[in-house]
Symmetry: C2
Subunit: 245 residues, 2 copies
């Protein structure tokens, strides 16, 4: 069914997850050994991406890439920016890697950036011989290729969007407490929020609906559980037309 890969176009996916502590990203280890001695030449981390097929659209490619890694379907995927700098794959390490493993592909590649929000950290990552792990976004240093830049763009896009729209619930369990939701907002926005003021705001979000159910098995007062209703959100949202200073 799938045909040729387009050698100049790829999709890179920034896969975000939340573990009730910090905002995390899935990264793949890229380790290159010398062909004879087997010494490690370099070892670094990349986002997950792939070239697109000729008969596949961009959203489809993003879906395929995340699905190949996590086995998940129907997840939130959003395109946020495209990257086409001339030198984006020109680091010597990148060149070595590309020559060895992707020799047929072109050195000039424009990559379309997508991000995905995962339901939780309990997903089973399909490792396929590569080491894939979650890393807290605050503890990531330099990535391979231009992936540090791509990640930064993704984070600021996510942050920007969360400020005005209810995204992010996909990183919480289907039933969540308000404290969990608050921690998510704090992790994404990188700021501490006041509990009472937070709850006052949330109580105006008609699409965050209380369930007839409480937390169980916690050694403190069990919290009320809530769910996010995209349905209610879509039906009640109104366009904002004013502007802010």
């Amino acid at each position: 069914m799938e045909t040729n890969l387009l050698k100049n176009i790829s999709v890179d996916c920034v896969i975000f997850g939340f573990d009730m502590e910090s905002l995390n990203v899935l990264l793949v280890e890229r380790t290159m050994n010398a062909s004879q001695s087997n010494d490690t030449l370099f070892s670094d981390l990349t986002l997950t991406g792939h070239h697109i097929y000729e008969n596949e659209d961009l959203d489809g490619a993003a879906k395929r890439i995340v699905n190949d890694l996590t086995g998940l379907k129907n997840l939130v995927l959003e395109q946020f920016y495209s990257f086409g700098e001339l030198d984006r794959l020109q680091h010597p390490n990148d060149q070595l890697w590309i020559d060895q493993f992707e020799g047929a592909l072109d050195k000039r590649v424009v990559s379309i950036g997508y991000y995905s929000l995962l339901p939780s950290l309990n997903v089973n990552i399909k490792q396929k011989g590569r080491v894939v792990k979650w890393y807290p976004v605050n503890e990531i240093s330099e990535l391979a290729y231009d992936h540090t830049f791509i990640l930064e763009k993704a984070i600021s896009h996510l942050r920007y969007k969360l400020r005005y729209e209810p995204i992010g619930f996909e990183m919480l369990p289907p039933k969540f407490t308000l404290s969990q939701m608050q921690k998510l907002y704090e992790a994404v926005l990188g700021v501490e929020l006041d509990k009472r003021n937070f709850r006052k705001k949330v109580s105006q979000m008609t699409y965050v609906v209380p369930l007839n159910e409480k937390q169980k098995g916690v050694s403190h007062k069990p919290a009320q559980l809530f769910m996010f209703s995209r349905d209610v959100y879509e039906k009640t949202k109104t366009e904002r037309y004013d502007f802010f200073v």
Copy 2:
């Protein structure tokens, strides 16, 4: 200096302008005549775009495309979204056009969308045998290719951004009145604003600075002139970390 065109990648530019009345877009007529009879087979409108060169980055390609059409350099250019639907160039008219004028290019093209804001409508458009005109965004019906979709994305991106950041001054003359600025905001946001409340907000924008100069030659009370200082803006802006319901 420039080398090969990448056959699978193009950049499309949405060029916005403002004439103190409405928000406008530059569109190019695409008219196809039958080879013998010279009857018009179809005639419609497109945005302006072009494939990118192998040794040119995305921003550079966008700059080149707008410069070719307007002769302007150093204008605001911002990437907003990329378009890669399989059927985006599959309308029979598009196929006819591509076969005739761009035969060497591939039928599978991913296009990176940029928008540009022009200083005014007084720019000299380089016509190059094509008919290029400004059209009020509210009066545009169907465009060629997937350009209606691209335009819609561009408008909503512009609108979204104007609500939170001072962009759009590039569509005003360097010295402008508050009424002109208000009309711009109304045209972009698609809403009427209260004059006194608008001015109250603007007076908090330290980067909109009054000049020692007034309008001349108008048959009513001459208005105070203002300028936009990006410098002041960059120095005084603070990150917002809170969120809205």
